[in-house]
Symmetry: C2
Subunit: 243 residues, 2 copies
DNA sequence: CACAGAATCAAACGGTCGTTTGAAAGATTG
DNA sequence: CAATCTTTCAAACGACCGTTTGATTCTGTG
């Protein structure tokens, strides 16, 4: 009795012990787990990670408070599971699109526009059947958390993929200094995250008229902006020694 | 005894009652107030508003816990005072530059590049004698807080100014549809805020090499990006009725 | 049915939070 | 000095936090 699943908090082995178990002894367990994830998603987006208490999460999910620690080990474990479920597929989609692009353009590099589209579209388009705004906002809100919490998370969920896209963009724009391109990629990420975490300070600045853009329109608007920005002529020889 | 300054929390009248008082009965009071503000600035940046406790703030400042409520009325009052002290001057600088630009360009509108520079430079350059990174990061970190907290704050500190800059940009780029320009301005704000709140997930993505850019270089890099982005050709007639 | 393991539950743990209180200390004016 | 106001202080308030516990219920197997 006691602590069957809690070692997941310190156990870094991949795979869900319950999903990997062939015995289907989890009729209500999966329901509880999923309900916690959905409630946590909504509340983390609404109030942030620190601002959403586990009592609020479990209360909204209609499950017991201790269920979080039983299934996820801790509050941070819940956040990890949430990110694995949501931004994992987004990043996988991004990577697949990038690989397909690179394969299609033969030995040449794909255009920067195509690479940016592969980076941005999955983040904004993946609707998952629910309210798309909610899904998209999670990542944006997480980025706003204090660095000591968000740092390892970002590296874990996004680090390798971000570097991979920068490498692709370097091949698409070989004439651009490397560090200038990296900064510009950061600007792209910033604009994207600001749009993703959007509902906060934007719509209230000009009234609801701004929120009217559909997801597809928004993708095109953002892409038009960042394509022009990342393809802008390089600043005059600002500093040598790009390393 | 009791509550002489606490009404500041609900009192929205401008001006500091102590600064306006001609009697200089505040030898240690201003020290305490300023020390609280500096400690709060550092801790809010480091851990966020929700993550930084008043006990940590007053402990770092070396003052009594109750001093915060005596001088600022509440934790939110402290945040308001912090923003008034820091982003107030930044926005004032922005507005002065914009007005000077508009006056200098006679009846014609100033260029979008100049307007963007007036918007971005004060946010990145104002060093105030201290660690510039710390000053800059506050606003970025605040933006990551939950909407119900950050919403009124953003409108109060930034709303009118943001609308004013959008109007100026509309005159600089009359051929661009109004809502497309407004979205692009949001992208600019996003990129700027991401850079401002920077140290979080960016430098650790490529190692410290990225953090090497000086403030002046960073301004030029960001300006090159957003100038190209906001001046990109408009998307084909996407929707009529710009209202 | 008996029995193991998985899952849920109410209750409490120690701790920290923002805020309040009322008295002590300091400064200012007559 | 005495009176009055401003400022500081230690201590506590009630509430909420993440986490743990141990019993209880549910579920599927032999």
């Amino acid at each position: 009795m006691g602590v069957p699943a809690n070692q997941r908090a310190t156990d870094s082995s991949a795979g869900d012990p319950k999903a990997g178990d062939s015995k289907a002894a989890c009729s209500k367990a999966l329901d509880t787990k999923q309900r916690i994830l959905e409630a946590a998603e909504a509340l983390f987006v609404e109030r942030g990670f620190s601002g959403a208490s586990l009592r609020a999460v479990t209360g909204a999910a209609g499950v017991n408070l201790a269920a979080v620690h039983y299934h996820f080990g801790s509050k941070e474990g819940l956040l990890h599971a949430l990110l694995d479920q949501h931004v994992g597929p987004i990043n996988q989609d991004r990577l697949e699109r990038l690989l397909r692009l690179e394969a299609a353009s033969a030995p040449a590099a794909p255009s920067a526009e195509a690479v940016l589209r592969a980076f941005i579209e999955p983040a904004l388009m993946r609707e998952r059947g629910r309210d798309p705004q909610r899904v998209r906002s999670l990542l944006g809100r997480i980025y706003g958390e204090p660095p000591h919490l968000v740092g390892p998370l970002v590296e874990r969920e996004f680090g390798a993929l971000g570097r991979r896209f920068v490498e692709a963009l370097e091949r698409s724009l070989p004439q651009l200094p490397r560090d200038e391109l990296r900064w510009r990629f950061q600007f792209v990420v910033g604009a994207l995250l600001y749009v993703i975490s959007g509902n906060a300070g934007l719509a209230l600045q000009f009234g609801p008229e701004l929120g009217r853009a559909s997801t597809e329109e928004l993708v095109e608007l953002l892409l038009g902006f960042v394509e022009a920005g990342i393809g802008a002529p390089a600043r005059a020889s600002r500093a040598e020694g790009t390393e």
